[in-house]
Symmetry: C3
């Protein structure tokens, strides 16, 4: 069960280059996404209503998509424009469901719920990914686990000390209690770590060799949008230092009950140089790969034993427990509305 | 659910060479097929009734099959002939179910239903595959889809223009309406295409470089026997030309609900030369491989989304819709008869 | 369904070397097994009660195991000793279930049932595996089948003539009737084979080139402990010969309903030389690999067709039928006791 009346990230713009017909399962539905000649992005159900061939396996003829099984043609709004050897307007039953889409913050967003509710103002604020003062890196990753396992992971960063010990984790992250707050449907988790050792990746990035004052502030919004503020400054420094500050923008899109799309971006406001960008990209990717390994194995256990419902919470779970409670409540609300 | 009181092709004769014990699942039942010393083909359930080892993993001792787990021996009619270390006639419970088989038109046919109804006169007419005036090629292929997807495909050839564009398809096939007729349980679909361009494969085969008069006539009989008449002649020709005429004989045998055996033969009545035979074999095989690719992917979609029941029909589906209706009716009849 | 109040072999000692955290599924439960600094073996549920990460993917800190997702620490008895960033005694809900274990006969045994019933005197007698007069070889193997298929196989050795024809089987094994006896829950099967040809492996081992007097005596105890006495002597020999005598100790541990752990040992009382040990190891391993091949394929058939309940018994099944009856009765008893 997934929340439907929300914007989910469906693709990165570069996935739509060269006229690509991108086929992707989202909330267990097959979706075709492509960019029309005028630059607009469009999305429709990725199944020919005639005999269930995937339209993403078809071909483009301008903005028209032709199914390559029997040649039916569909416009970018899902209307069937032509049936071979058949005169007149194609019957209405051949229309393909279309989905509202939007392009914002250099990401393609899709609305899988009631189209009339799709308001672009509801798109989460990821402006750091499209701001001249911030220098972003980002990518797409695929996980073989339920999307909430990834959300849990990102809301409670205490795992950094264990999963990311060699990169961004130190004991300070796990040993410093965090404070979690629930405001309506918004969850915030904050961890202030004054005078702690710099983790290996920070030492590499900024040459920090003394202690740093480190801060994490994690923002969760349903269904699974997470924005992390991360800032570190040298505890004491002879020279002025603006610190090491970045955001981690996480758009989590369920593919199915057991698999997840993960679109991440890490914009920073320091050192715009290309080799630092490359370090940020490689470093972030390595960190997320460590998470994915843990999360896929966590899902394997859950598939095999009846746990999950009997999880024992500890203090650092406060944020993720709030987030799960929000989801549960909203799922009930959406179910009742139908 | 499968129709049982019909002849299905179980094997090609060459699969039974060198005393082979061929094990093959047919209608979700494991079947052992082999040729006895006197040349007869025999078929029985491919499971030892003792401890469920597959007899096809056993060994032959003349016409006797010995299970290679505990050594039980079975005659070609399924009777247990011997149990090691056990005197007297083996108990009747050790008998293996045997199936009526027939060898006709250079194919091995099996009857999976009530043995007393197995009448060889009911074997479909595939005489072109065993006729001195016709020069056949043929082979066996395996599909990971429900057998009716393959039947649909062969009954409605309009897909040739898309799936087989590089070989036998032209727009004439998709753009010319076909006529479909239901006579009892027999479905016929006819498509007459005068003055159309020759497809790439025909140009290669016969050197046709002008337009041709092309005709397809497809015959369907339940459960899934399809015979296609195909004839093309040059629209106008200075020299007399008998045309390019062949049959496509399709014996479709369900392996399981999600997989299918496909035995095909393409006999022609022109150019008996060996290199043309090779061209016909390679060309036909390439065309069917294009179909299999489309059909396996179609099944993947059907496995994942609840479609199929909501397929929207177009005019060219008339034949396949008739065929599915025939099957549905006959399944009800067979179920009631039990 | 598995019997729980029995000792099962969980591991071989060499699997616990170098501080290993061995994770293994037993009776469909994930189990962590390791050896503490004082040499004791300990076993607990291999799932962190916090968020279901496998503890065997964690790390050791002395005798403490640390989960490498969020850093929770557990003692060898399953008590949670520490939660990062959380003061005081960890809540009792974080305790991990621990299992009684014992090390005996150079094997690690585990008790998956009620801990208060775990009596080491109930461990099967495998003393030949730890006796200065016997020279053992042994190993661990994994099967993709229900554990009772392997028990059936070992109780009825008539299959040797077919499955192990090239190694230890001769027709004498299949053609000599065996006698089976049920004493309470203990099953004995005996086969006396005077004056029979030596099988290939025996000729290789001892140079026997005439006939031998051969004897098998198989002992079964629930749930799946099998001990085979095997002795062969030359029928007539000019020189005195103590014969070729060995035991086959089989500890069968269900991994899941469809997979099985197999711990085997073959101690002999002749020729302690190293190259004979190597021959015994390689020969035994090859024989069991032949069995595994047959048994995995047997399970594949059972997964696909509804057989098993309709197996037809022959005389040589008496022992395995007794054994299955014992299991069925004990399963009912254990179910009623709960």
């Amino acid at each position: 069960m997934f929340l439907r009346n929300y914007w989910y990230v469906a693709a990165m713009p570069q996935e739509l280059e060269n006229g690509a017909l991108l086929g992707r399962w989202i909330l267990d539905e097959p979706v075709l996404i492509y960019r029309t000649a005028d630059g607009e992005v469009t999305a429709m159900r990725d199944i020919c209503p005639h005999r269930s061939a995937r339209l993403s396996a078809g071909e483009r003829d301008g903005d028209t998509v032709r199914c390559l099984y029997h040649g039916l043609e569909f416009g970018p709004d899902g209307t069937c424009l032509r049936v071979p050897a058949q005169d007149g307007t194609p019957p209405n039953g051949l229309r393909v469901q279309s989905y509202p889409v939007a392009e914002k913050w250099r990401l393609i967003w899709i609305w899988m719920g009631a189209p009339e509710l799709a308001d672009e103002n509801l798109i989460p604020d990821f402006h750091w990914n499209d701001d001249p003062d911030w220098f972003p890196v980002g990518d797409y990753m695929h996980l073989d686990c339920h999307y909430q396992l990834l959300a849990d992971n990102l809301i409670d960063l205490s795992h950094e000390a264990y999963v990311h010990r060699g990169t961004i984790g130190t004991d300070a992250v796990s040993e410093t209690p965090a404070t979690a707050r629930l405001d309506g449907e918004h969850v915030t988790v904050e961890r202030i770590m004054p005078g702690c050792p710099a983790p290996p990746f920070y030492r590499k990035l900024k040459g920090y060799d003394g202690t740093i004052d480190r801060m994490h502030r994690i923002h969760f919004d349903p269904p699974a949008t997470i924005m992390i503020e991360s800032k570190s400054t040298p505890t004491s420094s002879a020279e002025p230092d603006d610190g090491l500050e970045y955001r981690v923008l996480c758009a989590i899109t369920p593919e199915s009950e057991l698999s997840t799309h993960f679109f991440w971006a890490v914009p920073r406001n320091f050192n715009p140089e290309r080799q630092v960008t490359e370090m940020m990209y490689q470093g972030s990717k390595a960190v997320f790969e460590e998470d994915i390994d843990v999360l896929n194995r966590q899902q394997e256990v859950l598939n095999r034993v009846a746990t999950g419902s009997d999880w024992q919470n500890i203090n650092s779970d406060a944020g993720s427990v709030y987030a799960r409670r929000v989801i549960e409540k909203l799922l009930t609300t959406e179910a009742q509305a139908e």
